[in-house]
Symmetry: D2
Subunit: 223 residues, 4 copies
Amino acid sequence: MKINFPLLDGMIEFDKTLILAIEDTETFSDLARLLYSYNESSPLKLALDDFSPLKESQLMLVSDILGYNVNTPAILKLVYADLERQFGEKEEVKARLELLAVEIANIISSECLENELDLEYDEITLLELIKAMGVKIETTMSSVYEKCYEIVQIFKYLSKKKLLVFLNVGAYLTEKQIRSLLEYIELCNLNVIFLEPSKLYDLPQYILDSDYYLEYLNSSSES
Amino acid sequence: MKINFPLLDGMIEFDKTLILAIEDTETFSDLARLLYSYNESSPLKLALDDFSPLKESQLMLVSDILGYNVNTPAILKLVYADLERQFGEKEEVKARLELLAVEIANIISSECLENELDLEYDEITLLELIKAMGVKIETTMSSVYEKCYEIVQIFKYLSKKKLLVFLNVGAYLTEKQIRSLLEYIELCNLNVIFLEPSKLYDLPQYILDSDYYLEYLNSSSES
Amino acid sequence: MKINFPLLDGMIEFDKTLILAIEDTETFSDLARLLYSYNESSPLKLALDDFSPLKESQLMLVSDILGYNVNTPAILKLVYADLERQFGEKEEVKARLELLAVEIANIISSECLENELDLEYDEITLLELIKAMGVKIETTMSSVYEKCYEIVQIFKYLSKKKLLVFLNVGAYLTEKQIRSLLEYIELCNLNVIFLEPSKLYDLPQYILDSDYYLEYLNSSSES
Amino acid sequence: MKINFPLLDGMIEFDKTLILAIEDTETFSDLARLLYSYNESSPLKLALDDFSPLKESQLMLVSDILGYNVNTPAILKLVYADLERQFGEKEEVKARLELLAVEIANIISSECLENELDLEYDEITLLELIKAMGVKIETTMSSVYEKCYEIVQIFKYLSKKKLLVFLNVGAYLTEKQIRSLLEYIELCNLNVIFLEPSKLYDLPQYILDSDYYLEYLNSSSES
């Protein structure tokens, strides 16, 4: 991935993860706004490895880590599909489930016939059972760290999204937590930027200081 | 029940069913409109046996027998509750159903645990199974008669409704079908009016002729 | 227009208006249901003059004259467009209206500037003024006849609709009112069927009697 | 206002504004989550000057300064009411506006009468004109600072809200901007907390350091 914006002398290239700390408050604030309203004609340039510009729809921006809703209809649909895929890979379990569903359908249809009204009904599908279970992503987060982890996992699901940006979340995470997140992101081969208003621990990162001088900090403690 | 309106010399009282044929077109048309916009201050007076006026919310008017939607959310809720009541009366069947639901929940929850995301879920209730079956009142009506029958059955469910009025449906029903409907209504102890624009077969009915003369026709063939 | 269905020996052709009285109750009832669920593969055949079958979307069926909602969003959009067209034909009136709208916008924008919040606003369009007036089709119908008249006028607006069918409305209309409606329909060059369960006054009409014998009644009183 | 939570030795009292910097990342993160899910039984205690606990509905939390939607229906209703109040205080302007609205209504009603359909309409009210203008709060923010300012102004409007909390917004604001915001808040006599993950410039503030030692920093530069 590549990122560029007017104050940089040249684009920053990165592989999978990038921590970018902007120490000048107004520049950080402006960049945050550019991210929030990103599109292909923005002065903020985001591009894929092949230099093709990142489309607006390919960016997933998390500006509100606490309020970010993970259980949107679109994401739940993907979760359901994933569970269905899991069952598809276990023939015996799936067969057992279908047998149980048929028996339930038989019992309920018998009662429908006994009802005074002429009732109609269809079958019970696997998807309907998953929905009846109220399956959703756990939201009673025990920590902001877990929420971040969850969002990365969801980002992995969303095949149309190519870049995830966490905005100003460093304040909520310990150094150890961020290291662990970075590791997981690289393992999953995803593209994620952490945009921060100040140096983020002793991690490898780009820092744009208040004199607009860009420096790469290759943390020695990383090894 | 009692019904009165300006052109009548006195109120008509009836027990359970009333066929009222209004032979003057404009009077029939006016009465239909009054029914459609009925409320307690209408010139059309409808009252319960104890002379208390029928409330707007207690009237169920069927002016469009073909288009009448029986599967409203309110009615489906009653249907579901009725099925739940049926199961409540059959302990063994209910226990079997619950056992099956628990086994299904166990299988699905196992898969949820295997999923990469932290998923949460609840139980599968009887109501959710009924909904998953897509239970609803059959609407592929084989005849208008069946639709009328169905509407009477639904009216029975709707405990807040005290009077059902079928407007101009005689044209769709044979004499035998109406006799059968009347019988069913009386058996169920319901209050139903058929408002018609002309004499409805040789059934016992009130006829307001074009000279505004009201006559009660006590069909001899009824016995 | 042409109409055909299994019990007829051959299709009925008509120019603009057709009154069709089906005296056998079950046949009338069946035909009503076929109309209600009409599509191109129905046993009920409706065709344009060039023999091309009438599409489902080209049929406008009024089965509930009392409950028929004339102020749907689609129809209101046409009404607004029609008013805009009227103004388009009167340059001076339109100019005056626009002048008034600009003066109002100036006054309101001045107040917006005085407000503590930074407010933004746009112009007031003619369409917005029409909507602000709450323009809609009068629904406090003084009679079913007026409602029928109104529905014919709306049918005229709906350029995609090719055939209007009034189902069982004869009971609400006097002979004079129906004659007047027929006259208006023919004047407007529209295609309208009245489907009735019994002979409709002494008007020119097709009658399918209870022996399934089709007869054309060319009323002498018409001349 | 008063604030307390398990790690503090005693409650912090403040008059109008409070900057609270929590230097331990996990504590900051936990406190942010407590704020996000605040209610009266939370371990995080918020109380009015008379010691009555702050109700959930009285708290306005801004955790996403970039994404915060100012033009909600509830807020727009208040904006409209405020503009109406402004007009109420200027009799002549209001009279002129009403005169213009009446003239517009007369022109449109004339066209309605000329339309083929029977159209009905009502008057054009001041509120309808304001809505037709599309009045709303400007959202093309030129800076995060302006957005904060706007949110404080809106908070002033929302009479049911008693405490506004800005979470982690310091990173977007210069020292001068925060001083200006604090001044405006105190002028308006509002209660606002800035919860920050690190010392916020040289401003008067409470700092809970990583050893859970609470210190009040009374900036000398303030005078």
